[in-house]
Amino acid sequence: MTSRLAVEGLGHRHAGSGTWALRDLTLAVEPGQVLAVVGPSGSGKTTLLRLVCGLLRPTEGRVLLDGVDAAAVPPERRPVAMVFQGYALFPHLTVRDNIAFGLAVRRVPRAQRRARVDEVAATLRVDGLLDRLPVELSGGERQRVALARALVRDPRVFCLDEPLSSLDPVLRVEARRALSALLRADGRSAVYVTHDQAEATTVGDQVAVLREGQLEQVATPRELYARPATSFVARFVGTPPMSLLPAAALDVPARADVLVGVRAEDVHVGAGKPYVVREVEEHGHEQLLALDVGGIDLVARVPLVMNVRVGETVLAQVNPVRIRLYDGATGRLLP
Protein backbone atom coordinates (compact mmCIF):
# COMPACT_ATOMS: atom_id res chain seq x y z
CA MET A 1 0.00 0.00 0.00
CA THR A 2 1.33 3.40 -0.91
CA SER A 3 1.51 6.00 1.78
CA ARG A 4 -0.93 8.88 1.62
CA LEU A 5 1.94 11.29 2.10
CA ALA A 6 5.64 10.62 2.05
CA VAL A 7 8.63 12.88 2.08
CA GLU A 8 12.02 11.58 1.05
CA GLY A 9 15.29 13.30 1.85
CA LEU A 10 13.35 16.55 1.96
CA GLY A 11 15.31 19.75 2.58
CA HIS A 12 14.75 23.47 2.22
CA ARG A 13 17.29 26.23 2.35
CA HIS A 14 16.42 29.93 2.71
CA ALA A 15 17.32 31.71 -0.49
CA GLY A 16 18.40 34.80 1.37
CA SER A 17 20.36 33.67 4.40
CA GLY A 18 21.48 30.32 3.00
CA THR A 19 20.62 28.47 6.19
CA TRP A 20 18.76 25.17 6.11
CA ALA A 21 15.27 25.38 7.59
CA LEU A 22 14.78 21.66 7.06
CA ARG A 23 17.25 19.00 6.08
CA ASP A 24 17.17 15.37 4.96
CA LEU A 25 13.72 14.56 6.26
CA THR A 26 12.14 11.20 5.47
CA LEU A 27 8.64 10.45 6.78
CA ALA A 28 5.43 8.76 5.74
CA VAL A 29 1.79 9.17 6.72
CA GLU A 30 -0.65 6.34 6.05
CA PRO A 31 -4.35 6.80 5.15
CA GLY A 32 -6.46 7.56 8.19
CA GLN A 33 -3.42 8.52 10.22
CA VAL A 34 -2.42 11.76 11.87
CA LEU A 35 1.24 12.64 12.01
CA ALA A 36 1.94 15.13 14.75
CA VAL A 37 5.04 17.21 14.21
CA VAL A 38 6.48 18.76 17.33
CA GLY A 39 9.53 20.80 18.13
CA PRO A 40 10.59 24.14 19.52
CA SER A 41 10.10 27.23 17.39
CA GLY A 42 12.52 27.42 14.48
CA SER A 43 12.75 23.65 14.22
CA GLY A 44 11.30 23.57 10.69
CA LYS A 45 7.75 22.43 11.44
CA THR A 46 6.02 25.14 9.47
CA THR A 47 8.51 24.80 6.63
CA LEU A 48 7.50 21.14 6.34
CA LEU A 49 3.83 22.13 6.04
CA ARG A 50 4.60 24.75 3.41
CA LEU A 51 6.58 22.22 1.41
CA VAL A 52 3.75 19.71 1.58
CA CYS A 53 1.06 22.13 0.47
CA GLY A 54 3.27 23.61 -2.22
CA LEU A 55 3.90 27.11 -0.90
CA LEU A 56 7.61 26.28 -0.90
CA ARG A 57 9.66 24.29 -3.35
CA PRO A 58 12.07 21.70 -1.93
CA THR A 59 15.77 22.52 -2.26
CA GLU A 60 16.41 18.80 -2.20
CA GLY A 61 14.38 15.60 -1.88
CA ARG A 62 10.75 15.17 -2.82
CA VAL A 63 7.18 15.13 -1.62
CA LEU A 64 4.99 12.19 -2.65
CA LEU A 65 1.22 12.39 -2.46
CA ASP A 66 -0.45 8.98 -2.85
CA GLY A 67 2.78 7.85 -4.41
CA VAL A 68 2.93 10.70 -6.97
CA ASP A 69 5.82 13.17 -6.94
CA ALA A 70 4.24 16.55 -6.21
CA ALA A 71 7.05 18.62 -7.66
CA ALA A 72 5.10 19.41 -10.82
CA VAL A 73 1.75 19.83 -9.05
CA PRO A 74 0.84 23.44 -8.17
CA PRO A 75 -0.64 24.11 -4.73
CA GLU A 76 -4.22 24.39 -5.93
CA ARG A 77 -4.10 20.97 -7.58
CA ARG A 78 -2.63 19.12 -4.60
CA PRO A 79 -5.13 17.12 -2.51
CA VAL A 80 -3.91 19.08 0.47
CA ALA A 81 -5.69 21.72 2.57
CA MET A 82 -3.94 24.05 4.93
CA VAL A 83 -5.29 25.44 8.18
CA PHE A 84 -3.13 28.43 9.05
CA GLN A 85 -2.00 29.51 12.45
CA GLY A 86 -4.45 32.13 13.73
CA TYR A 87 -6.91 30.78 11.12
CA ALA A 88 -6.32 33.52 8.52
CA LEU A 89 -9.98 34.50 8.20
CA PHE A 90 -10.76 37.55 6.07
CA PRO A 91 -12.10 40.21 8.42
CA HIS A 92 -14.30 41.79 5.76
CA LEU A 93 -15.96 38.56 4.64
CA THR A 94 -18.83 36.71 6.26
CA VAL A 95 -18.37 33.16 7.42
CA ARG A 96 -20.03 31.95 4.25
CA ASP A 97 -17.68 33.94 2.04
CA ASN A 98 -14.69 32.92 4.07
CA ILE A 99 -15.53 29.26 3.63
CA ALA A 100 -16.22 29.82 -0.06
CA PHE A 101 -13.03 31.82 -0.63
CA GLY A 102 -11.15 29.02 -2.38
CA LEU A 103 -14.19 28.26 -4.52
CA ALA A 104 -14.37 31.93 -5.49
CA VAL A 105 -10.71 31.91 -6.52
CA ARG A 106 -11.42 28.81 -8.58
CA ARG A 107 -14.45 30.52 -10.12
CA VAL A 108 -16.86 27.81 -9.06
CA PRO A 109 -20.41 28.88 -10.01
CA ARG A 110 -22.33 30.64 -7.28
CA ALA A 111 -25.06 28.07 -6.80
CA GLN A 112 -22.56 25.25 -6.53
CA ARG A 113 -20.57 27.29 -4.02
CA ARG A 114 -23.63 27.75 -1.87
CA ALA A 115 -24.49 24.09 -1.79
CA ARG A 116 -20.96 23.05 -0.96
CA VAL A 117 -20.64 25.61 1.84
CA ASP A 118 -23.97 24.55 3.35
CA GLU A 119 -22.88 20.93 3.35
CA VAL A 120 -19.52 21.58 5.00
CA ALA A 121 -20.95 24.11 7.45
CA ALA A 122 -23.39 21.50 8.71
CA THR A 123 -20.58 19.01 9.27
CA LEU A 124 -18.71 21.50 11.41
CA ARG A 125 -21.79 22.95 13.10
CA VAL A 126 -21.20 26.47 11.83
CA ASP A 127 -24.38 26.51 9.72
CA GLY A 128 -25.96 28.98 12.16
CA LEU A 129 -23.10 31.43 11.77
CA LEU A 130 -22.92 31.82 8.00
CA ASP A 131 -23.88 35.48 7.88
CA ARG A 132 -21.61 36.65 10.64
CA LEU A 133 -18.27 38.37 10.34
CA PRO A 134 -15.18 36.86 12.01
CA VAL A 135 -15.15 39.53 14.72
CA GLU A 136 -18.54 38.24 15.88
CA LEU A 137 -17.26 34.69 16.46
CA SER A 138 -15.71 33.01 19.49
CA GLY A 139 -12.31 31.39 19.25
CA GLY A 140 -13.78 27.92 18.90
CA GLU A 141 -16.17 29.07 16.18
CA ARG A 142 -13.34 30.66 14.23
CA GLN A 143 -11.39 27.45 14.42
CA ARG A 144 -14.34 25.51 13.05
CA VAL A 145 -14.78 28.03 10.24
CA ALA A 146 -11.11 27.65 9.31
CA LEU A 147 -11.55 23.86 9.30
CA ALA A 148 -14.68 24.19 7.20
CA ARG A 149 -12.76 26.23 4.67
CA ALA A 150 -10.14 23.49 4.50
CA LEU A 151 -12.78 20.77 4.29
CA VAL A 152 -14.45 22.51 1.35
CA ARG A 153 -11.49 21.45 -0.76
CA ASP A 154 -12.24 17.81 0.10
CA PRO A 155 -8.55 17.16 0.75
CA ARG A 156 -6.80 13.84 1.25
CA VAL A 157 -4.29 15.48 3.57
CA PHE A 158 -4.89 18.23 6.08
CA CYS A 159 -1.98 20.48 7.02
CA LEU A 160 -2.64 22.14 10.35
CA ASP A 161 -0.38 24.79 11.83
CA GLU A 162 -0.93 25.14 15.58
CA PRO A 163 -4.70 24.76 15.16
CA LEU A 164 -5.47 25.01 18.88
CA SER A 165 -2.93 27.58 20.01
CA SER A 166 -5.38 30.47 20.09
CA LEU A 167 -7.98 28.63 22.15
CA ASP A 168 -8.27 28.69 25.92
CA PRO A 169 -7.27 25.43 27.67
CA VAL A 170 -10.79 24.25 28.48
CA LEU A 171 -11.97 24.66 24.92
CA ARG A 172 -8.79 23.08 23.67
CA VAL A 173 -9.52 19.62 25.07
CA GLU A 174 -12.96 19.53 23.51
CA ALA A 175 -11.74 20.93 20.20
CA ARG A 176 -8.91 18.41 20.09
CA ARG A 177 -11.32 15.51 20.38
CA ALA A 178 -13.56 16.86 17.63
CA LEU A 179 -10.52 17.44 15.50
CA SER A 180 -9.11 13.95 16.00
CA ALA A 181 -12.28 12.42 14.61
CA LEU A 182 -12.62 14.81 11.71
CA LEU A 183 -9.03 14.46 10.54
CA ARG A 184 -9.24 10.69 10.23
CA ALA A 185 -12.71 10.52 8.70
CA ASP A 186 -13.09 9.02 5.23
CA GLY A 187 -9.51 7.78 5.19
CA ARG A 188 -8.07 11.28 5.27
CA SER A 189 -4.67 11.95 6.76
CA ALA A 190 -3.20 14.96 8.50
CA VAL A 191 0.07 16.59 9.34
CA TYR A 192 -0.50 18.35 12.62
CA VAL A 193 2.11 20.86 13.70
CA THR A 194 2.33 21.95 17.30
CA HIS A 195 4.93 23.09 19.75
CA ASP A 196 3.11 21.33 22.58
CA GLN A 197 4.38 17.78 23.03
CA ALA A 198 1.38 16.77 25.16
CA GLU A 199 -0.96 17.83 22.36
CA ALA A 200 1.21 16.03 19.81
CA THR A 201 1.18 12.77 21.70
CA THR A 202 -2.58 12.96 22.23
CA VAL A 203 -3.52 13.75 18.62
CA GLY A 204 -0.87 11.93 16.64
CA ASP A 205 -0.81 8.31 15.59
CA GLN A 206 2.82 8.99 14.95
CA VAL A 207 4.84 11.83 16.39
CA ALA A 208 7.84 13.37 14.67
CA VAL A 209 10.20 15.45 16.77
CA LEU A 210 12.14 18.12 14.89
CA ARG A 211 15.08 20.10 16.12
CA GLU A 212 16.88 22.75 14.08
CA GLY A 213 15.58 21.32 10.85
CA GLN A 214 16.59 17.74 11.63
CA LEU A 215 14.41 14.81 12.52
CA GLU A 216 15.23 13.54 16.00
CA GLN A 217 12.73 10.72 16.11
CA VAL A 218 9.49 9.59 14.60
CA ALA A 219 7.49 7.01 16.53
CA THR A 220 4.17 6.23 18.15
CA PRO A 221 3.45 8.30 21.25
CA ARG A 222 3.98 5.22 23.41
CA GLU A 223 7.34 4.42 21.87
CA LEU A 224 8.37 8.06 22.02
CA TYR A 225 7.62 8.14 25.74
CA ALA A 226 9.23 4.84 26.56
CA ARG A 227 12.29 4.97 24.34
CA PRO A 228 13.28 8.52 23.38
CA ALA A 229 15.81 8.12 20.60
CA THR A 230 17.93 11.05 21.67
CA SER A 231 18.61 12.98 24.85
CA PHE A 232 16.84 15.94 23.18
CA VAL A 233 13.65 13.95 22.79
CA ALA A 234 14.05 12.63 26.31
CA ARG A 235 14.17 16.15 27.64
CA PHE A 236 11.33 17.34 25.34
CA VAL A 237 8.67 14.66 25.62
CA GLY A 238 6.66 13.75 28.72
CA THR A 239 5.29 15.65 31.69
CA PRO A 240 7.63 15.78 33.41
CA PRO A 241 10.34 14.95 30.88
CA MET A 242 13.07 12.42 31.68
CA SER A 243 15.72 13.37 34.19
CA LEU A 244 19.16 13.08 32.61
CA LEU A 245 22.10 12.55 34.94
CA PRO A 246 25.74 11.50 34.58
CA ALA A 247 26.12 7.76 35.00
CA ALA A 248 28.51 8.16 37.89
CA ALA A 249 26.05 10.16 39.95
CA LEU A 250 23.62 7.25 39.99
CA ASP A 251 26.25 4.51 40.31
CA VAL A 252 25.28 3.14 36.89
CA PRO A 253 28.13 1.13 35.50
CA ALA A 254 28.91 2.87 32.20
CA ARG A 255 31.42 5.15 30.51
CA ALA A 256 31.91 8.44 32.30
CA ASP A 257 30.30 10.60 29.60
CA VAL A 258 27.14 8.54 29.35
CA LEU A 259 23.90 10.20 30.46
CA VAL A 260 21.26 8.18 32.26
CA GLY A 261 17.63 8.97 31.45
CA VAL A 262 15.06 8.24 34.14
CA ARG A 263 11.27 8.72 34.07
CA ALA A 264 9.83 10.14 37.28
CA GLU A 265 7.70 7.03 37.88
CA ASP A 266 10.83 4.86 37.78
CA VAL A 267 12.34 6.53 40.84
CA HIS A 268 11.38 4.64 43.98
CA VAL A 269 11.26 6.74 47.12
CA GLY A 270 11.52 5.12 50.58
CA ALA A 271 14.67 3.11 50.21
CA GLY A 272 18.13 3.49 48.80
CA LYS A 273 20.48 6.44 49.07
CA PRO A 274 19.65 9.72 50.84
CA TYR A 275 18.95 12.81 48.73
CA VAL A 276 17.90 16.32 49.70
CA VAL A 277 14.50 17.47 48.39
CA ARG A 278 15.00 20.69 46.48
CA GLU A 279 11.48 21.27 45.29
CA VAL A 280 8.00 19.84 45.69
CA GLU A 281 5.33 20.28 43.02
CA GLU A 282 1.77 19.07 43.70
CA HIS A 283 -0.33 17.79 40.79
CA GLY A 284 -3.75 16.85 42.14
CA HIS A 285 -3.45 13.16 42.79
CA GLU A 286 0.34 12.99 42.91
CA GLN A 287 3.39 15.12 43.56
CA LEU A 288 6.75 15.54 41.89
CA LEU A 289 9.89 15.75 43.99
CA ALA A 290 13.08 17.28 42.64
CA LEU A 291 15.96 15.48 44.36
CA ASP A 292 19.40 17.01 44.41
CA VAL A 293 21.86 14.57 42.82
CA GLY A 294 25.21 16.26 42.76
CA GLY A 295 23.64 19.56 41.74
CA ILE A 296 21.34 18.05 39.10
CA ASP A 297 17.64 17.38 39.57
CA LEU A 298 16.31 13.85 39.64
CA VAL A 299 12.52 14.06 39.45
CA ALA A 300 10.46 11.46 41.26
CA ARG A 301 6.70 10.86 41.09
CA VAL A 302 5.19 9.97 44.49
CA PRO A 303 1.64 9.70 45.86
CA LEU A 304 0.13 12.80 47.43
CA VAL A 305 -0.18 11.07 50.82
CA MET A 306 3.56 11.03 51.25
CA ASN A 307 4.40 14.01 53.45
CA VAL A 308 7.60 15.59 52.18
CA ARG A 309 8.90 19.12 52.63
CA VAL A 310 11.60 21.05 50.83
CA GLY A 311 14.97 20.61 52.53
CA GLU A 312 14.18 17.19 53.97
CA THR A 313 16.30 14.22 53.11
CA VAL A 314 14.60 11.18 51.60
CA LEU A 315 15.86 7.78 50.51
CA ALA A 316 15.48 6.98 46.81
CA GLN A 317 16.64 4.56 44.18
CA VAL A 318 16.24 4.21 40.40
CA ASN A 319 14.69 1.15 38.76
CA PRO A 320 17.72 -0.13 36.87
CA VAL A 321 15.62 -2.03 34.32
CA ARG A 322 13.75 1.06 33.08
CA ILE A 323 16.65 3.46 32.64
CA ARG A 324 17.90 4.58 29.20
CA LEU A 325 21.53 5.38 28.42
CA TYR A 326 22.54 8.21 26.07
CA ASP A 327 25.88 8.92 24.47
CA GLY A 328 27.11 12.14 26.08
CA ALA A 329 28.67 13.39 22.84
CA THR A 330 26.04 12.50 20.20
CA GLY A 331 22.99 12.35 22.49
CA ARG A 332 22.00 9.04 20.83
CA LEU A 333 20.29 6.26 22.72
CA LEU A 334 22.78 3.49 23.49
CA PRO A 335 21.56 -0.03 22.87
Binding site: C53, A88, F90, G102
Partner: protein, 290 residues
Protein backbone atom coordinates in the same frame (compact mmCIF):
# COMPACT_ATOMS: atom_id res chain seq x y z
CA UNK B 1 -7.79 59.23 35.76
CA UNK B 2 -9.80 62.49 35.50
CA UNK B 3 -6.68 64.41 36.46
CA UNK B 4 -4.84 62.76 33.63
CA UNK B 5 -7.57 63.59 31.15
CA UNK B 6 -7.73 67.17 32.36
CA UNK B 7 -4.00 67.34 31.83
CA UNK B 8 -4.43 66.12 28.30
CA UNK B 9 -6.99 68.81 27.67
CA UNK B 10 -4.53 71.43 28.81
CA UNK B 11 -2.00 69.99 26.40
CA UNK B 12 -4.54 70.35 23.62
CA UNK B 13 -5.23 73.98 24.43
CA UNK B 14 -2.37 75.67 22.53
CA UNK B 15 -3.19 73.70 19.42
CA UNK B 16 -6.87 74.51 19.77
CA UNK B 17 -6.16 78.19 20.24
CA UNK B 18 -3.85 78.23 17.26
CA UNK B 19 -6.43 76.51 15.10
CA UNK B 20 -9.17 78.89 16.18
CA UNK B 21 -7.01 81.90 15.60
CA UNK B 22 -5.26 80.90 12.41
CA UNK B 23 -7.70 78.56 10.67
CA UNK B 24 -11.26 78.71 11.95
CA UNK B 25 -11.36 82.47 12.44
CA UNK B 26 -10.02 83.43 9.02
CA UNK B 27 -12.19 80.76 7.40
CA UNK B 28 -15.32 82.25 8.96
CA UNK B 29 -14.28 85.77 8.00
CA UNK B 30 -13.61 84.59 4.44
CA UNK B 31 -17.03 82.94 4.35
CA UNK B 32 -18.46 86.30 5.39
CA UNK B 33 -16.57 88.17 2.67
CA UNK B 34 -18.05 85.74 0.14
CA UNK B 35 -21.31 87.68 0.32
CA UNK B 36 -19.74 91.08 -0.28
CA UNK B 37 -18.09 93.18 -2.95
CA UNK B 38 -14.74 94.05 -1.48
CA UNK B 39 -11.71 95.53 -3.21
CA UNK B 40 -9.44 95.67 -0.14
CA UNK B 41 -9.03 99.40 -0.60
CA UNK B 42 -12.51 100.58 0.37
CA UNK B 43 -14.91 99.02 2.92
CA UNK B 44 -16.76 95.85 1.81
CA UNK B 45 -20.34 96.19 0.62
CA UNK B 46 -22.92 93.52 1.31
CA UNK B 47 -24.14 91.91 -1.91
CA UNK B 48 -25.65 88.65 -0.71
CA UNK B 49 -26.13 85.83 -3.19
CA UNK B 50 -25.67 88.18 -6.12
CA UNK B 51 -21.94 87.39 -5.86
CA UNK B 52 -22.66 83.72 -6.54
CA UNK B 53 -25.17 84.48 -9.28
CA UNK B 54 -22.56 86.59 -11.04
CA UNK B 55 -19.95 83.90 -10.64
CA UNK B 56 -22.23 81.33 -12.16
CA UNK B 57 -22.62 83.43 -15.30
CA UNK B 58 -18.89 84.19 -15.31
CA UNK B 59 -17.20 82.39 -18.20
CA UNK B 60 -13.85 82.34 -16.46
CA UNK B 61 -15.32 80.79 -13.34
CA UNK B 62 -17.05 78.07 -15.32
CA UNK B 63 -13.88 77.31 -17.19
CA UNK B 64 -11.94 77.14 -13.91
CA UNK B 65 -14.55 74.75 -12.53
CA UNK B 66 -14.14 72.48 -15.55
CA UNK B 67 -10.32 72.71 -15.39
CA UNK B 68 -10.43 71.87 -11.70
CA UNK B 69 -12.65 68.85 -12.19
CA UNK B 70 -10.59 67.57 -15.12
CA UNK B 71 -7.29 67.92 -13.26
CA UNK B 72 -8.66 66.37 -10.08
CA UNK B 73 -10.27 63.53 -12.00
CA UNK B 74 -6.93 62.72 -13.57
CA UNK B 75 -4.60 63.50 -10.68
CA UNK B 76 -6.35 61.85 -7.74
CA UNK B 77 -6.69 58.33 -9.22
CA UNK B 78 -3.16 58.55 -10.59
CA UNK B 79 -1.74 59.70 -7.28
CA UNK B 80 -3.55 57.13 -5.18
CA UNK B 81 -3.10 54.40 -7.79
CA UNK B 82 0.55 55.27 -8.28
CA UNK B 83 1.15 55.25 -4.54
CA UNK B 84 -0.57 51.86 -4.34
CA UNK B 85 1.44 50.44 -7.22
CA UNK B 86 4.72 51.60 -5.70
CA UNK B 87 3.73 50.32 -2.27
CA UNK B 88 2.89 46.90 -3.71
CA UNK B 89 6.13 46.79 -5.67
CA UNK B 90 8.32 47.89 -2.79
CA UNK B 91 6.71 46.37 0.30
CA UNK B 92 8.91 43.26 0.35
CA UNK B 93 12.06 43.78 2.35
CA UNK B 94 15.06 43.63 0.09
CA UNK B 95 18.45 45.14 -0.32
CA UNK B 96 18.42 48.77 -1.51
CA UNK B 97 15.05 48.99 0.21
CA UNK B 98 15.81 52.28 1.87
CA UNK B 99 17.14 53.75 -1.34
CA UNK B 100 14.10 52.84 -3.45
CA UNK B 101 11.68 54.01 -0.83
CA UNK B 102 13.57 57.27 -0.42
CA UNK B 103 13.48 57.75 -4.18
CA UNK B 104 9.73 57.27 -4.20
CA UNK B 105 9.20 59.69 -1.36
CA UNK B 106 11.80 62.33 -2.20
CA UNK B 107 9.75 64.38 -4.69
CA UNK B 108 7.24 65.08 -1.93
CA UNK B 109 9.76 67.07 0.08
CA UNK B 110 11.16 69.17 -2.75
CA UNK B 111 10.06 72.83 -2.51
CA UNK B 112 7.39 73.98 -4.96
CA UNK B 113 9.60 76.50 -6.68
CA UNK B 114 12.28 73.90 -7.35
CA UNK B 115 9.63 71.52 -8.72
CA UNK B 116 8.43 74.22 -11.09
CA UNK B 117 12.00 74.87 -12.28
CA UNK B 118 12.65 71.19 -12.86
CA UNK B 119 9.45 70.81 -14.87
CA UNK B 120 10.22 73.86 -16.96
CA UNK B 121 13.35 72.02 -17.95
CA UNK B 122 11.64 68.67 -18.39
CA UNK B 123 9.08 70.00 -20.87
CA UNK B 124 11.49 72.41 -22.58
CA UNK B 125 11.05 71.42 -26.23
CA UNK B 126 14.68 72.12 -27.23
CA UNK B 127 16.86 71.56 -24.18
CA UNK B 128 14.67 69.28 -22.02
CA UNK B 129 15.11 65.50 -21.83
CA UNK B 130 11.81 64.69 -23.58
CA UNK B 131 12.63 67.12 -26.38
CA UNK B 132 16.16 65.81 -26.79
CA UNK B 133 15.17 62.14 -26.85
CA UNK B 134 12.23 62.60 -29.21
CA UNK B 135 14.34 64.83 -31.46
CA UNK B 136 16.99 62.13 -31.62
CA UNK B 137 14.34 59.91 -33.22
CA UNK B 138 13.34 62.68 -35.56
CA UNK B 139 10.05 63.45 -33.82
CA UNK B 140 10.53 66.25 -31.29
CA UNK B 141 7.87 67.90 -29.18
CA UNK B 142 6.20 71.27 -29.44
CA UNK B 143 5.71 73.87 -26.76
CA UNK B 144 4.00 71.61 -24.22
CA UNK B 145 2.90 74.39 -21.91
CA UNK B 146 1.27 76.32 -24.76
CA UNK B 147 -1.01 73.41 -25.42
CA UNK B 148 -4.05 73.17 -23.11
CA UNK B 149 -3.87 69.39 -22.90
CA UNK B 150 -0.07 69.42 -22.55
CA UNK B 151 -0.21 71.99 -19.78
CA UNK B 152 -2.90 70.06 -17.93
CA UNK B 153 -0.95 66.83 -18.22
CA UNK B 154 2.16 68.58 -16.91
CA UNK B 155 0.24 69.82 -13.90
CA UNK B 156 -1.15 66.32 -13.36
CA UNK B 157 2.36 64.88 -13.66
CA UNK B 158 3.65 67.28 -11.03
CA UNK B 159 0.92 66.24 -8.68
CA UNK B 160 1.55 62.55 -9.35
CA UNK B 161 5.23 62.91 -8.47
CA UNK B 162 4.30 64.14 -5.04
CA UNK B 163 2.54 60.90 -4.15
CA UNK B 164 5.17 60.15 -1.49
CA UNK B 165 2.94 60.53 1.54
CA UNK B 166 0.22 58.31 0.18
CA UNK B 167 2.87 55.80 -0.81
CA UNK B 168 4.28 55.69 2.73
CA UNK B 169 0.83 55.22 4.25
CA UNK B 170 0.00 52.43 1.81
CA UNK B 171 3.39 50.81 2.30
CA UNK B 172 2.82 50.66 6.04
CA UNK B 173 -0.75 49.42 5.52
CA UNK B 174 0.40 46.72 3.10
CA UNK B 175 3.02 45.49 5.53
CA UNK B 176 0.33 45.18 8.19
CA UNK B 177 -1.69 42.73 6.08
CA UNK B 178 -1.25 39.19 7.43
CA UNK B 179 0.90 36.94 5.25
CA UNK B 180 -1.28 33.83 5.88
CA UNK B 181 -4.10 35.45 3.89
CA UNK B 182 -1.77 35.61 0.89
CA UNK B 183 -0.55 32.06 1.52
CA UNK B 184 -4.14 30.92 1.59
CA UNK B 185 -4.86 32.62 -1.72
CA UNK B 186 -1.82 30.96 -3.21
CA UNK B 187 -2.81 27.49 -2.06
CA UNK B 188 -6.06 28.09 -3.94
CA UNK B 189 -4.13 29.00 -7.05
CA UNK B 190 -4.68 32.76 -7.03
CA UNK B 191 -2.48 34.63 -9.52
CA UNK B 192 -1.20 38.15 -9.01
CA UNK B 193 -4.39 39.78 -10.26
CA UNK B 194 -6.78 37.52 -8.34
CA UNK B 195 -4.68 38.04 -5.24
CA UNK B 196 -4.92 41.81 -5.75
CA UNK B 197 -8.66 41.69 -6.38
CA UNK B 198 -9.64 39.31 -3.58
CA UNK B 199 -7.04 40.00 -0.91
CA UNK B 200 -5.08 43.23 -1.22
CA UNK B 201 -7.73 45.56 -2.55
CA UNK B 202 -10.54 44.73 -0.11
CA UNK B 203 -8.19 44.78 2.85
CA UNK B 204 -6.64 48.09 1.85
CA UNK B 205 -9.98 49.60 0.85
CA UNK B 206 -10.48 51.58 4.07
CA UNK B 207 -7.00 53.08 3.81
CA UNK B 208 -7.45 53.79 0.11
CA UNK B 209 -10.75 55.46 0.84
CA UNK B 210 -9.24 57.75 3.44
CA UNK B 211 -6.30 58.54 1.21
CA UNK B 212 -8.56 59.37 -1.70
CA UNK B 213 -10.58 61.70 0.47
CA UNK B 214 -7.44 63.39 1.71
CA UNK B 215 -6.11 63.57 -1.82
CA UNK B 216 -9.26 65.24 -3.07
CA UNK B 217 -8.73 67.89 -0.43
CA UNK B 218 -5.03 68.50 -0.94
CA UNK B 219 -4.35 67.69 -4.58
CA UNK B 220 -5.33 71.15 -5.71
CA UNK B 221 -3.14 72.82 -3.13
CA UNK B 222 -0.20 70.63 -4.03
CA UNK B 223 -0.07 71.94 -7.57
CA UNK B 224 -1.10 75.51 -6.87
CA UNK B 225 2.36 77.06 -6.55
CA UNK B 226 4.05 75.14 -9.40
CA UNK B 227 1.06 75.94 -11.63
CA UNK B 228 1.25 79.60 -10.73
CA UNK B 229 4.90 79.69 -11.70
CA UNK B 230 4.75 77.31 -14.64
CA UNK B 231 1.62 78.26 -16.57
CA UNK B 232 0.06 81.02 -14.52
CA UNK B 233 -3.23 79.27 -15.16
CA UNK B 234 -2.82 79.23 -18.94
CA UNK B 235 -2.97 78.47 -21.73
CA UNK B 236 -6.47 79.89 -22.07
CA UNK B 237 -7.32 78.91 -18.51
CA UNK B 238 -6.61 75.21 -19.06
CA UNK B 239 -4.73 75.01 -15.77
CA UNK B 240 -6.51 77.80 -13.94
CA UNK B 241 -7.99 75.81 -11.09
CA UNK B 242 -10.40 77.30 -8.61
CA UNK B 243 -7.76 78.05 -5.95
CA UNK B 244 -5.69 79.83 -8.56
CA UNK B 245 -8.70 81.82 -9.72
CA UNK B 246 -9.55 82.71 -6.12
CA UNK B 247 -5.99 83.94 -5.60
CA UNK B 248 -6.04 85.91 -8.83
CA UNK B 249 -9.41 87.50 -8.16
CA UNK B 250 -8.62 88.29 -4.57
CA UNK B 251 -5.08 89.52 -4.73
CA UNK B 252 -4.35 90.47 -8.30
CA UNK B 253 -7.63 91.90 -9.45
CA UNK B 254 -8.72 93.41 -6.15
CA UNK B 255 -11.94 91.43 -5.99
CA UNK B 256 -11.65 89.88 -2.56
CA UNK B 257 -15.40 89.23 -2.42
CA UNK B 258 -15.19 87.10 -5.55
CA UNK B 259 -12.07 85.36 -4.24
CA UNK B 260 -13.80 84.54 -0.96
CA UNK B 261 -16.89 83.27 -2.77
CA UNK B 262 -14.78 80.99 -4.95
CA UNK B 263 -12.95 79.70 -1.88
CA UNK B 264 -16.26 79.01 -0.17
CA UNK B 265 -17.63 77.19 -3.23
CA UNK B 266 -14.43 75.19 -3.46
CA UNK B 267 -14.76 74.14 0.17
CA UNK B 268 -18.36 73.08 -0.37
CA UNK B 269 -17.45 71.25 -3.57
CA UNK B 270 -14.64 69.37 -1.85
CA UNK B 271 -16.93 68.42 1.01
CA UNK B 272 -19.53 67.19 -1.44
CA UNK B 273 -17.07 65.10 -3.44
CA UNK B 274 -15.64 63.55 -0.29
CA UNK B 275 -19.14 62.73 0.98
CA UNK B 276 -20.07 61.08 -2.31
CA UNK B 277 -16.84 59.14 -2.29
CA UNK B 278 -17.45 57.83 1.23
CA UNK B 279 -20.92 56.69 0.24
CA UNK B 280 -19.51 54.86 -2.77
CA UNK B 281 -16.84 53.30 -0.60
CA UNK B 282 -19.38 52.00 1.87
CA UNK B 283 -21.51 50.55 -0.90
CA UNK B 284 -18.47 48.99 -2.50
CA UNK B 285 -17.40 47.44 0.78
CA UNK B 286 -20.81 45.88 1.06
CA UNK B 287 -20.61 44.68 -2.54
CA UNK B 288 -17.26 43.01 -1.93
CA UNK B 289 -18.71 41.19 1.04
CA UNK B 290 -21.25 39.31 -1.07
Amino acid sequence: MTGYRAGLRWLLLPWLLGTLLLVVGPALITAGFAFTRYDALSPPQLAGFAVFRDLWSDVEFRRALVSTLVIVALAVPLRVGGGLLLALLLHRRRRLDAATRAAAYAPSVVPDVAIALVWLWVVNPVYGPIGLITSAFGAGIGAVLLDPAGARLTVVAISVLSLGEGFLVLLAARRELPQPLYDLARTEGAGVLTEFRLVTLPLLAPVLGLLTARDLVVSLQVVMVPTLLLTNGGPLGATKTLPLLAYERGFRELELGDGAAIALLLTLLTGLVVAVQFRLLRRWNRAVAT
